[in-house]
Amino acid sequence: MVATMSAVEVENLSMSYKAPVRKSGLRAAFGSLVRREYKTVQALDEVSFTIAPGEVAGFIGPNGAGKTTTMKILSGILHPTSGAVQVLDTVPWQRRSAFLKRIAFVRGSQPVGGSQELTVMDSLEYQRLLYDVPRPTFRRTLADLEALLELDPLLERQLRALSLGERMRVGLAMALIYRPEVLFLDEPTIGLDVTAAGQIREFVREYVEQTGATVLLTSHYMADVESLCPRLILIDKGKVQYDGPLAELSARLSPYKLIRISTQGDPSPFGEVVDKADGQWVLRVPRDEVAGTTGRLLQALEVVDLAVEEPPLEKVIDQAYREGLR
């Protein structure tokens, strides 16, 4: 594959592995001593996509869809069964030092590796050595990260004594102290409260703005995806089901919009009533009839307030997971 203008290029990526299986019971257990049976699990099936430098893409799908497997392949931990992958024009699973210094893989489930007895500052200092960050750059980046992630009170604390939210902040600081160009974020807000999750989102947005880094983010929280990712890649059962703008997915999956209306009258003849409380109604109206319905509502009823909304992303995605894409 020749050098490209993509930060990440994935072509027909497949990953399968054999998992031992056996029926329950003693007889099957003895049988498996002689002849083990395996079942082939297809984790990824001909996945293809590219991500341009500086792009932030959301990578979503139900549990077991293949998101983390893809992330592991792209960062170099896993070796695929077939297909071609280039990240920054390098084959990731060769794990060359020069490549590893340009990427970061942060997992919400294991944000901080390494010695847990060390202080945050000791760990950052080790990262400086490991990634050959010149001291002036290290000091400058650390100052930025301190401000963005409110690290100051954490620097002298031991890793093992940090709360989950603090660990995630420190995990990001340790990953970003060497200013990676490509960032793989696997569930960065998992288990965090609303405030901590918001902080992480805000930080990622600012980091991307400042550095122009390329980001691939998986999350089950649609708030993460909505606020950070203009582009969405939806994967299910190891296949890419959708790749495009977030708004388009929403329109494709949900041919309706919601009209939220405050009125003393009865707007039920104008659309399907989804919700009704304290004089406020929510009507479901086909997308192409929204303008006409709104006009008729305003003419027929005394309207105090009216808003047209997209259906909640959670609902749209839930529908995509359960029913697939049409």
Partner: protein, 251 residues
């Protein structure tokens, strides 16, 4: 050079890390000294008039403390819990982390075990020829390398089995039997002694202890070096196969 700097920093990190677990390290010290102490009591009772026995076993205790390896607990656990992935994504050889931790634990065991060695020596009125002790240094260094390679080699089986402790436990029994802890190998029956002299285990414990105790004037560094080369080769082959497997199926 860079690897040496990273190793130095990692060693410092690990020494700090383990400083918080001194009580746990004390249990490791006790485990390490029990087997040579039993050997000492048994063989001192058999040969009450031979001061070399006590001298030899005090040296074995010290060699054991300075060469203990626990990769089945440290490295293998990283395979089992998946944190080996963190190490694979660092721009440094994974061995830097493993060796750094190994040296840190040995430093702590030596420090915490020194009083036991000293007390045993004083209690049994053991006197050393310090020239012999100095001469044993290169043998001790190679013994430390051999024990590490042997334990690391067996710990690599964690890529294939979740019973790594049984595998390493079996390996430790071989060191105990043929390394000179169960009995100085000179006291083994002829056939067994000849086998023990060829296997690598004698070079891991008995050989440096005999030289330090002055019961053997010279030994063959070549014998230890040959085993270092063999074990390095096998470790490299197994490491590559293990990582290939790990990166094919994940953690």
């Amino acid at each position: 050079m860079r690897t040496a700097v990273l190793l130095g920093f990692r060693l410092r990190q690990e020494v700090l890390e383990w400083s918080g677990a001194w009580w746990f390290l004390m249990t490791l010290v006790v485990q390490a000294v029990v087997a040579p102490l039993i050997g000492l009591f048994v063989w001192s009772a058999v040969y009450p008039d031979d001061p070399a026995i006590a001298r030899y076993y005090v040296a074995v205790i010290l060699v054991t403390l300075m060469t203990e390896s626990f990769e089945q607990h440290t490295f293998s656990e990283r395979i089992y819990n998946g944190t080996l992935s963190h190490e694979l994504l660092r721009p440094q050889p994974v061995a830097v982390g493993v060796i750094g931790m190994n040296l840190a634990i040995r430093a702590w065991l030596t420090l915490l075990g020194a009083p036991i060695v000293l007390l045993t020596g004083i209690a049994l009125q053991v006197g050393f020829d310090w020239w012999a002790v100095a001469r044993s240094t290169p043998y001790l260094v190679l013994a430390a390398v051999l024990v590490f390679l042997w334990t690391f080699l067996l710990s690599l089986t964690a890529f294939w089995t979740d019973r790594v402790h049984a595998v390493v436990g079996f390996g430790s029994q071989l060191v105990f039997l043929f390394g000179g802890t169960a009995a100085p190998i000179g006291l083994l029956p002829d056939g067994l002694r000849r086998v023990a002299e060829v296997l690598p285990f004698y070079g891991m414990s008995g050989l440096p202890a005999e030289i330090a105790a002055g019961t053997r004037g010279d030994g063959s560094l070549g014998y230890q070096l040959v085993w270092v080369v063999v074990l390095v080769g096998v470790v490299m082959v197994l490491w590559r196969a293990g990582v290939r497997r790990y990166t094919a199926v994940g953690s």
